[in-house]
Symmetry: C2
């Protein structure tokens, strides 16, 4: 069956999908994911697993563009390669569980944040300690060094907490602490 009313319905359906895809792209943009990568994810989310050529056709973009887009999404841990039996082409599948998306996406970034900053704090504090213990350094500079040391020292607590948050999410414990809703459903 494929009359004019069916045609219209298909268009409406596509519009409905695009509405949500755009929203997903817009909100992913908030976290530094480019609009096109967000659109790509949204499309895969609603259309299921796709090949690069299917993406290209759907988004009207070049294949290398799809390739790099998919790669970026893989780096964020929200897209994976899959196999579609009988097909030669590689297919890619989007993480369809937003809780898993949240977990994969944010824990990766938070872990990196903690690691990078704790590392630089370590190095910086080492330098500051030297200054503080040095002779022939004005009290003014020493005081600045002491204050700076303390500010950095205080910030460590945050990064430690961040690591703890990450663990809570990775283990799924977060969903015990902040339940999904009345209907409990085991997650992860």
């Amino acid at each position: 069956m494929s009359n004019s009313s069916d045609q219209e319905a298909r268009e409406s359906l596509d519009n409905a999908k695009e509405l949500v895809i755009d929203s997903i792209a817009e909100t992913m943009d908030l976290y530094g994911v480019t609009r096109s990568a967000g659109t790509l994810y949204g499309t895969m989310y609603l259309e299921g697993d796709m090949t690069l050529d299917e993406m290209r056709e759907k988004l009207g973009m070049s294949k290398p563009s799809m390739s790099t887009g998919v790669k970026k999404l893989q780096e964020f841990n929200v897209v994976k390669k899959t196999f579609r039996k009988g097909k030669r082409k590689q297919t890619y599948i989007a993480e369809k569980d937003f809780f898993q998306f949240f977990s994969n996406f944010f824990t990766q970034k938070w872990e990196r944040e903690a690691k990078v900053n704790l590392h630089s704090i370590k190095d910086a504090q080492s330098t500051l300690t030297q200054i503080i213990n040095e002779d022939n350094v004005s009290e003014e500079v020493k005081e600045d060094a002491r204050e700076t040391f303390q500010v950095m020292e205080n910030s460590k607590r945050y990064y430690q907490w961040l690591n703890k948050l990450v663990e809570t999410i990775e283990t799924g414990e977060i969903f015990d602490l902040i339940p999904l809703d009345s209907k409990d459903e085991d997650r992860q």
Copy 2:
């Protein structure tokens, strides 16, 4: 006092600060904050409240650049205007509590994510329902509409949970659930 050793010490001190400022900028970049805005925040974080001219001098950039940078950071709720008594110039102060930073920054984004997506889902589902109830629409299209409706319906739970998470953070309850102080969290 200001001999050569003191000069060196000041340079070391600035280097130590810049090391951490760069890390802060790099990690803020993960969340879509531009490098220069991140550097600006990091500088204010370690140097205390500053005027636009002080920022300009410190970062070696133009004043309009500082103005827009500060404005962006204000939008993220991590910088505020302050007054420095006796001074005519406006000063700006960075949120120095990273927990508060985390709270201000992410809750704003998560709230927006939930709002924007729930809204588009509502509109999309309305369209999908029409298609499903329409006569003269092929079963194939209807089935797609039904499946899409269900995928969207399922995703609502996530956004509801996100709103719940936001509330837990805004009320500070999150720090009861995931306490700050725990011995060694040295994951690095």
